[in-house]
Subunit: 219 residues, 2 copies
DNA sequence: GCACACTAGATCGTATACGATTTGATGTAC
DNA sequence: GTACATCAAATCGTATACGATCTAGTGTGC
């Protein structure tokens, strides 16, 4: 056995939460998952407590675990956290962004632009995830990288439950990506890159707030 | 029983790592800790895996856990992470900083100043921790708050192993705290507060780099 | 003397079992 | 009909046990 059962359990439950198979509020019963995996409850329990630490599940002693409920406040808090960390990760990664990197990022954004013409929001969302992953992928600080990845996983879990959709924001998003790529191409300072990345995330957050008719002060 | 045994185990091991009783590299043997706590290995194992997720312990399958080794790179990565998150947390907390809050923060910084006169580095460090905790304590975003607290716990664990000491930086630190408090007192914008807090953290980081004769580019 | 195979002890990983706790339903008093 | 006590089913928390795996030490061939 090369991977432990608790790892398998973690991967399974994690994947199902992130892709939406387990919706927010879904009750995670240890015995049920253990039966499905053909193992005992101990490794399942361990996996679930790890997911709790990540914020993907809510856990109550002697009661059990459920997939974390998503409300607008939680969504905004997650967006806000990413708005802090992703720009920093991007700026730190800047020095590692070479021509090959730029070409791939540019290609992803070009594909996103095509999705706009083709009215394909599903592919657009997928490409957007990839683009952002590309942005921070070269971050040399593993702690910061880990935080960004966890944040995006949470965001993915929330979006899988079709909680958000801001269609009219898509086109502006592509342009902001492009602006960011130009800054990287001309070797702008890390600070400039960070600011541009933060502006991008803040704009997305504000677009959501506006759509939901929420006051920016709620966060 | 009001708290579970895994919570007790987590609290015990965590405390010992943070206060330095368990030094980096210390071998955490499940059975030994279980015996000491008078419980079985299962809850201890759970506690240790949680500490692993926090980055305080290093864990290898089928081999066991050790307290995370601290090297300068790890230390710098942790400092860098805090340099991103703590200023954001402070800026977000700004609106909740009232007169009572200011009075307490000012008092802490005044005590730090007195420690300088009295040449009491131990008390100074303790007060510094309290001051920073006060800075981000009112942060309304629980995710960001959690990240800052974890970062400081890691830093505390590293410092407990007397890895760092930058005496000549102390006085400047107090002045930077004071500057930050003035900005808060006059209700400066969140952005200004964030920038000042970040400058403070960046200066601390650079002071360490200079003392260690390291090039800032190492990070 | 060095490299490699082997063995024994230590330690981990997880199955099983059972007591503890919670929850929701049922029954009873008012 | 409402409030509260009671009880049973579901589920969790952890002790115990044992097989699996790693590590270090020993021995053997060269």
């Amino acid at each position: 056995m090369t991977t432990s059962k608790s790892e398998v359990a973690y991967a399974l439950v994690s994947e199902r939460i992130v892709n939406g198979a387990y919706s927010p509020g879904y009750r995670l019963v240890l015995g049920t998952i253990a039966d499905e995996l053909g193992c005992s409850v101990v490794p399942v329990r361990e996996a679930i407590r790890r997911l709790e630490a990540e914020g993907l599940v809510h856990f109550t002693r002697n009661v059990g675990a459920t997939v974390a409920q998503v409300d607008s406040t939680l969504y905004l808090h997650t967006m806000q956290t990413l708005a802090v960390i992703e720009p920093a990760a991007t700026a730190l990664a800047a020095s590692a962004m070479d021509e090959a990197w730029l070409a791939k990022a540019q290609d992803l954004n070009d594909q996103m632009r095509q999705c706009l013409e083709a009215f394909d929001p599903v592919a657009f969302t997928e490409l957007n995830n990839e683009f952002h992953q590309q942005l921070y992928s070269q971050c040399p600080n593993p702690h910061i990288l880990d935080l960004v990845q966890r944040g995006w996983r949470r965001l993915a879990a929330m979006r899988a439950s079709s909680f958000t959709h801001i269609p009219h924001r898509a086109r502006q998003s592509v342009e902001e990506h492009q602006h960011l790529l130009e800054l990287i191409r001309v070797h702008a300072s890390p600070r400039e890159i960070e600011e541009a990345a933060r502006a991008h995330r803040t704009n997305t957050l504000n677009a959501y707030l506006a759509q939901a008719n929420m006051d920016p002060s709620v966060i």
